[in-house]
């Protein structure tokens, strides 16, 4: 009885009693949701265009952030370092296309998936070899990102909003909008959408598959860089981030592997759900449920809607 | 008594019947109030132009699709819709238009899978390869070898099915369905994509199966040619509705059928 009470009644009473805390939790959830969404976005871009489940997206975030900070540490001015990092991500995209995608074309999904594992190892090793394994501090100041926070009094208490979080949200929105434009307005974008439907259709647009792969991996790299900067500004730049990047997986399940809006909405739902779960229900079991709560949300969701939020119903044929 | 008479005599009472079956997919009508029956031991063909709803009909028969209206009667029992493994348990076997073999396995293993419903071995017996498991395995291997011999595929017994040419894959699929010892066998375009010689072989096998095992056969074809020679009765579907039903000769001379095949506008 007590258990049921503490699961189904108590948390909601708490929410009612302290609405400011509820808003704060929601906000925190949304912010981490934005970051999940960004990582998921990287996944979706690549999966949509090349059918590769890119496990290395998480480490790409770390690698991009490390490169940025590392370059800066070696005396490269922040904005130059930023530009250089973008170039590095381009080089990476080309390398991936040449060394992995091209030789493995037409292999089963799982093989490509495993290859991105290999890529993960390579990036971890390279990152540590070049920049060392210690956590680093993001150069948010140098990049002109705001720090500090707004304190808004409301609902009988107050809610604290970090400026960097607001910036993150804005940048993320801009990025999504930008991608949207690229997708819908440019020739490359049309090819990208075509390739998601059928490889041959893409070829008929006159763009080679190889080019498309480079473009999406590069786009995913840039998204990873942005994610890395945001994330790094909030905590540190370290390899621990790689595991957190796995949080993007439940997001994908929620949103579907090929839907960009799905990635955004899914990210926000997971972010909010996870924070709420941790804050209101976590104490019941000793806390720390953040590590798996997102998966459980996704799993429950999956059982009722296997095709995801925005996916179409699958009719199986024989 | 001639051979034809002997063949005609074996046909018995209806075993399978569909009554006013309708099936829609998200508003698209695949089947409209189709009714027909299948008699014991007969070779029953369902023909019709492409997209006439033949495959949907077969999928309804063995429970892969659930019809919105109508009932299926099988050996005196009524079903609103079948469940695939229930259909399998009751003795409805099936082959597929686009070969649905287990590509990573050998011919022998594919056919052995067909024996699954008849096998009882449990985890413990199999893990320790106890005499019970061994006996069962051998017993069913024997049954499978009969089928391999019957369909003349001895030489490819150990070949992974993925490496076989199309015609042989079709034959292996028939073998796998036969391994279930079905009383009714549904064949989905068994001769599609074959050359003349392969078609003749397949016809012979279908007739032999019908003859030797007494299996009732329901087969789909869009090509009228060969099927007419081997069927006892033919149903013709067009745009999801039945337009004719009768012996091959009756059907062949039916105006609606001729129109459907010549593509006269509706």
């Amino acid at each position: 009885m007590h258990l049921l009470y503490s699961i189904f009644v108590d948390p909601f009473m708490q929410m009612g009693h302290a609405p400011d805390l509820l808003v704060q939790t929601l906000w925190d959830g949304l912010v981490s949701g934005v970051l999940y969404a960004l990582i998921a976005l990287g996944f979706v871009l690549i999966f949509k265009a090349s059918g590769v489940f890119n496990f290395a997206q998480g480490i790409m975030v770390v690698f991009a952030a490390l490169t940025l900070v590392g370059l800066n540490e070696h005396g490269v001015p922040a904005y130059v370092a930023l530009a250089l990092t973008v170039v590095v991500m381009l080089v990476l995209a080309v390398a991936v296309e040449r060394a992995i995608l091209r030789p493995l074309v037409n292999q089963p999904e799982i093989i490509l998936f495993m290859a991105t594992f290999g890529l993960t190892y390579v990036l971890i090793g390279l990152g540590e070899l070049i920049f060392g394994g210690d956590p680093k501090v993001m150069i948010s100041g140098e990049l002109g990102l705001p720090s500090g926070s707004y304190r808004i009094n409301m609902l009988g208490g107050y809610v604290q909003l970090q400026k960097i979080d607001i910036a993150a949200a804005i940048i993320a929105s801009l990025m999504v909008a930008g991608l949207g434009i690229v997708f819908n307005r440019t020739r490359i974008g049309r090819a990208l959408r075509a390739v998601a439907d059928s490889h041959r259709a893409a070829l008929s647009v006159g763009i080679s598959l190889e080019q498309i792969w480079v473009v999406v991996w590069f786009a995913a790299g840039v998204v990873a860089l942005a994610t890395g900067i945001m994330w790094g500004a909030r905590s540190n730049v370290s390899f621990a981030l790689e595991i957190i990047a796995l949080k993007a997986l439940p997001v994908l399940i929620l949103g579907g592997f090929t839907s960009i809006p799905g990635a955004i909405v899914g990210g926000l739902i997971i972010g909010v759900g996870e924070k709420m779960g941790e804050f209101y229900w976590g104490p019941l079991v000793g806390g720390g449920i953040e590590s798996w709560f997102a998966y459980v949300i996704a799993l429950v969701f999956l059982l009722f809607r296997p095709q995801g939020l925005f996916g179409e119903r699958i009719i199986e044929r024989l | 008594m001639t051979e034809t008479e002997a063949r005609a005599q074996r046909i018995g009472a209806p075993v399978l019947a569909v009554e006013e079956v309708s099936l829609t997919f998200g508003g698209v009508r695949a089947l409209t109030e189709v009714s027909f029956d299948v008699r014991e031991h007969e070779v029953r063909a369902i023909i019709g132009p492409n997209g006439a709803g033949k495959s949907s009909m077969l999928n309804v028969l063995n429970g892969f699709y659930q019809p919105q209206h109508g009932i299926i009667r099988f050996r005196g029992r009524e079903f609103r819709g079948m469940k695939p493994h229930v259909a399998a348990t009751m003795g409805i076997g099936r082959t597929f238009q686009n070969i649905a073999l287990f590509r990573g396995m050998t011919v022998l293993d594919n056919i052995m899978v067909g024996r699954n419903l008849k096998m009882r071995g449990n985890l413990l017996q199999e893990a320790f390869w106890l005499p019970a498991a061994r006996r069962e395995e051998i017993e069913h291997r024997r049954a499978v070898e009969e089928i391999i011999d019957f369909l003349e595929i001895q030489h490819i017994r150990r070949t992974p099915v993925g490496q076989l040419p199309y015609g042989l894959q079709k034959r292996v699929e028939l073998a796998r369905a036969l391994a279930m010892e079905p009383s009714v066998l549904l064949l989905d375009e068994p001769m599609a994509g074959m050359n003349l010689e392969e078609k003749q072989d397949m016809c012979r096998f279908v007739l032999d199966v019908n003859d030797h095992y007494g299996t009732t056969i329901v087969l789909i074809e869009h090509d009228m040619g060969v099927v007419m020679d081997i069927s006892d009765r033919v149903v013709v579907l067009d745009y999801g509705s039945k337009i004719a039903d009768g012996t091959p000769d009756q059907v062949r001379s039916d105006q609606a059928v001729i129109d459907a095949y010549l593509g006269v506008a509706h």
Binding site: - | M1, T2, E3, A6, R7, L108, R141, R142, E145, E146, I148, D149, F150, E152, Q154, H155, R157, L196, E197, R204, D208, D211, H212
Partner: protein, 652 residues
Amino acid sequence: MAADIGALDTFPKLLLHHAKVRGARPAIREKDRGIWQTWTWTQLADEVRVLACGFADQGLKRGDHMALVGDNRPRIYAAMCAAQCLGAVPVPLYQDAVAAEMAFPIQNAEIALAVVEDQEQVDKLLEILPQCPTLKHIYYDNPRGLRHYAQPQLASYDRLREIGSEAAKRDPGFLEREIEKGAGDDPAAMFFTSGTTATPKGVVLTHHALIDRARAAAEMEGLTDRDVVIAYLPPAWIGQNIFSYAQPFATGYCICCPESAETLMTDMREIGPSYYFAPPRVLEALLTQVSIRMEDAGRFKRALYRHFMDVARRVGGAILDRKPVGMAQRLHYALGDLLVYGPLRNVLGMSRVRVAYTAGEAIGPDLFRFYRSIGINLKQLYGSTETSVFVCVQPNGQVKADTVGPAVRGVELKFTPQRELLIRSPGLFREYYKNPQATEQAKDAEGWFHTGDAGYLDADGHLKIIDRVKDVGRLDDRTLFAPKYLENKLKFFPYIKEAVAFGHARDRVCAFINIDMEAVGNWAEKRKLAYTGYVDLASRKEVRDLITQCVEQVNADLAADPELAGSQIHRFLLLHKELDADDGELTRTRKVRRGYIAERYASLVEALYAGKESVHVEAQVRYEDGRTGQISADLSICDARSFPPAAAREAA
């Protein structure tokens, strides 16, 4: 002349003997339902008992004939023995013969009862039933597809067994009594010779003849009941009957029936026969397979293969014959045995072969040496249906490529002035059934059998056969011309499938050649030579050059032989179609019918001798699916270099 063969003078008696002394040993294995099903001698004897009682019940009597049509199956052999138990004469017929070809033997032997394998054979017999009123019972082994056949003559093998079982129960001693009545001089079987020109003749062989010859060869080779033979040639052919019926009954060894023609290679590899027979065409096809597959191998393996085959060619034969060979050479060969010959014998399924025979026609010496050089004890033998096969056999250690060995125990040989070989042997046939005239022609009053083969004994007493007496010709300058000898030499090249040589009463030798589609096709692919089909391929300049090289090679060889140097091939053409038994150009055993071909392609022959550059041809061809079509083509005629005879060269 009649050598004593003891008390076990009929096959049924031998069967009972084996059932008694080695009842649990395998008599016949059959790959069926995926495994080698074994019939022990006891089981075989039991089966024969049931069948014999069944046959007797169905009215089969002493002296009657019974037809057997089917592949090598234990039940066919059991039926054969069952008939012999009753003193009836089994007549095995070729299972691939068309219906019309079966009518004659059935009428000739007044056959009332037939045991056949399956629907295919039943259909054929039913087709000729109106011409064969004597045929009253047809028993089929495989009931597949026969369920609705309503003919009263038909019954299944299993039904026959039921009848037999009941009859055996009623009179358990029946079989033994019947077997006792049999004697060695009774006819044991009748084989119809594949008449290439005339009507077939039924060769009647007695138990005595067959058993005596089977034993003579078995003793010579030391065959025991541990030997294993794979039965894959038509049972209606005397050779197959000797190796898979007479000799196993004589020695008690086990025969193995493959599952189907497609699985023969695999099945043979599984069984690993110790005693093997193959006509030259089979050996040739195998070697072609070997060559083609080796061509596809990687550079390293090809080099390895070529190197060690060179070694084998030099010393392999000598080592097999236990002749002195240097230590270094021996080691070299042993290494080759590990790396190439052993594995090769293994993939060919011949690792365990102790004795292998080839016969039926002359074998190309290079082909012959190939098998010997890789350590397979392949030997030639000479014989025919009329002689119960074994006339001459090459003994171990005395194997030559161009002879067929000395006479086997009990055989006498002599020659007519025309070089025709005459034979007297305990294995001779009794008569041609209902054909006293032919019998008289073939077998004279003193019991000499006139073979029709031309040949002579060489210095070691080995028989050398050149050709059929009637085919041996002379060029118009009286030079000896043995067409088959030339053809065989050509056919040894993997690229040449068939050859027909002309030259009798002409000024020089010319030839038709069929390319081997598989080998030449492979060769062309390697050279990125596109072609559409046989006709196109055969008309390619590159292919003509390839074959010209082969012909010139043959000419060089011939030049070395003083007797035959004059019959070098001067001109040849590549035929526009493959010679085919269905068109009557080959016999069923794939021998070329030279006369018929010369007649049919007279214009081509003329063109060869008229010295033309090319000749236009129009012909009807039959495609694989049974359709026929018209083709027309210009065939180029090629000239081949010839060489001065070795003797002349030495003199010069």
